[in-house]
Symmetry: C2
Subunit: 252 residues, 2 copies
DNA sequence: TCAATAGTGTCTCTCAGACACTATCAA
DNA sequence: TTGATAGTGTCTGAGAGACACTATTGA
């Protein structure tokens, strides 16, 4: 074991870059996409003190069994929950993105329902906060982010929005039980445009993604049927994209 | 510069993992998808001596400006050409995939036309060879690969095949000029099934991806119109996937 | 009764699949 | 002429968009 993590061998003339993982944790709060950010420590030697950043950090080769394991750990650490969706977005590595030198980051996207968050661990500590991605008029804008995290967040959002055009991905922003109107609202928030109700419902019901429950959601108006996301179904690829992608411009 | 690549700081109690890049270089030769592999050195301390592996290796933090830059360098090094398509597939990192210890690899997929390869640098050295992915009956099968490269190659192929269902990706396996029959053949090889001629041609021509040339390709039969891939068009997302994905099973 | 939200009926349009048909070359 | 490959005409069907319609609740 000690041998495994020995210093670079003679055949390895280059210094190893710093290896980190960052997690884009998204949820839906107040009918808005929100991202969980942490405020960086104000300690000597720490880059970007006081700045907001994606949760993440250096891979712990003693305890993390893999990159994905590291991402899961950081997610659990910040939210206290296991996200129903976690995927790798990509990796970025160069000499300038971290002032400490050549570094790599492995970026993951986690989607989770806001309802599952504990009030305390769900991101309400002083150094941990949810930020709306499209702040209401006059509301708080996203702060400047540490490192190249704005770019990483952009890539994660592009992935989510791109996949929302032809997969069921945004379903993971909801609890397992929901109404079709709620699901449509989630897609609309992610895509930033409204969708046609009948077409949307047909699309979802034909997909076999959800099962009808006997219960209804009681609201102030007409009650709505509840559906449950089938756990054994993975991400669904619809046979068609939702709308023209404006020609040849596709998702990332 | 020297400071940037200094040893891990005190705030970094974990040994840094080995950082590598591997490139899946695919082309179409003899109407078959082929992957370029290198035979590993038989030197002391080198893992998997004599085994075939994806081209790649340790990131050179002195010369590689970024991970992608490193992939481009390795590609140029092995093939002598700049591939018309290079994308990141993903990253894998854990303690066991490399016997030397905790390591990460950043996997890229390169697609290129066989015609552009120089006969010498195109992969004909003793330790560099093209291997057909679906060998003709009785032909040479893919050898066992070093490290977890079989898994990495599988992920690259899944990406190519998945995207072939709803994007123009396989077009990069051809030279810039081709006939529609040739293009259809490429898609068929990638997808492993035959496609309907009329639908395929309509799909391509409606996409605006190609422009008609005045020239014809003279063959032994009726000459075929030549088309040229427009360089300013990127990857095209078709409005529909080619066929049912067998329910909810989608591309990676 | 009305306002609001849930949910349906039905037409149109686009585009992939099927498949038979014509066109153009060499031998 | 035939064989082979290039390329077209045209019908079908799935599924997204549009939009008007009905249904069910609280106030």
């Amino acid at each position: 074991m000690a041998k495994h993590n020995a210093a670079p061998a003679a055949c390895e003339p280059y210094p190893r870059p710093l290896c980190t993982v960052d997690v884009i944790i998204l949820t839906l709060l107040d009918a808005t996409l929100q991202v969980l950010l942490v405020q960086r420590e104000d300690a000597p030697g720490e880059p970007f003190p006081g700045r907001w950043a994606l949760p993440g950090g250096i891979v712990d080769t003693q305890h993390d069994r893999s990159l994905e394991d590291c991402a899961r750990r950081k997610l659990l650490d910040k939210t206290g929950v296991v996200a129903p969706h976690l995927e790798q977005i990509g990796s970025w590595g160069d000499a300038v993105r971290d002032p400490r030198g050549w570094s790599t980051t492995h970026v993951y996207l986690a989607l989770l329902p806001a309802a599952t968050l504990h009030p305390r661990r769900g991101g309400n500590a002083a150094d941990l906060r949810w930020f709306p991605l499209e702040p209401p008029a006059g509301g708080p804008a996203l702060p400047p982010l540490a490192f190249d995290h704005a770019r990483l967040l952009g890539a994660g959002l592009a992935r989510l929005r791109g996949k929302a055009e032809y997969t069921s991905l945004p379903i993971y922003l909801l609890p397992q039980t929901f109404t079709l109107s709620e699901l449509q609202a989630v897609f609309q928030v992610v895509l930033g445009r409204s969708l046609e109700k009948k077409a949307f419902r047909t699309r979802i019901l034909a997909s076999g993604l959800v099962e009808e429950l006997d219960e209804m959601k009681e609201t102030s108006r007409r009650p709505a049927r509840l559906y449950r996301r089938k756990t054994d179904e993975g991400l669904h690829y619809f046979p068609r994209a939702l709308e023209s992608h404006g020609g040849s411009v596709g998702p990332s």
